[in-house]
């Protein structure tokens, strides 16, 4: 079974600075998807960024980018020019790309989350 590990329960960053959140995962599959979701105090789960494992290029969405190291099974999230609105719980998640009976590839497996505080 796949597992996702976020080793930093909490992180803090000064407004306008850069912070990197770590995520590692364990899988024997070669094709899969990785995601970062954000959960602000409003509780809503919001997709931040996603990465297809077969793509070597790191995904970028405005101030958010990832460092995807497939061999190391590492998928870190970099937030540049941090803003107060970035304060939230961040979850890393994994999903298999393979079709499988029982639909197990539909399952999103989450890490335990990293609580990001942004200091003004």
């Amino acid at each position: 079974a796949q597992t996702v590990t976020q080793s930093q329960p909490e992180m803090s960053v000064q407004e306008a600075e850069t912070v990197t959140l770590s995520c590692t995962y364990d899988t024997s599959e070669s094709d899969y998807y990785l995601f970062w979701y954000k959960q602000p105090p409003s509780r809503q789960m919001i997709l931040v960024i996603r990465q297809e494992a077969y793509k070597q290029q790191n995904a970028t969405e405005n101030r958010f980018s990832v460092n995807f190291q497939k061999a190391a099974k590492s998928f870190s999230l970099k937030i540049s020019d941090s803003q107060l609105g970035d304060a939230a719980m961040y979850f890393c998640a994994y999903r298999s790309a393979y079709g499988r009976s029982g639909g197990s590839n539909y399952k999103l497996t989450f890490g335990k989350g990293t609580l990001l505080t942004v200091n003004p």
Binding site: R43, Q44, M45, R50, E52, G102, Y106, K107, F110, G113
Partner: protein, 114 residues
Amino acid sequence: DTAVSQTPKYLVTQMGNDKSIKCEQNLGHDTMYWYKQDSKKFLKIMFSYNNKELIINETVPNRFSPKSPDKAHLNLHINSLELGDSAVYFCASSQPKSGANVLTFGAGSRLTVL
């Protein structure tokens, strides 16, 4: 226009009661999910339906019974509520045919069992 809507958002009840949470999506997605987020914020899948067919049923007590009357709705009924059922329950939907199968979540339903 809420994409995935859950009702109620908050639910406070006594141990032993039976309660339901409803979920509806207007995205035209084929697949819907229930996730449970515990007090430590850990998110774990409970169930998934694809076109009204149950495709994922994790190790969940059989006091929890999902029902999908059509592919736009997935309800969760919980019998004989226990203290440990207190959590936030998230409904989500996705379109598996779209490749990445990105999940869109509802706002969550916070269940408190006293």
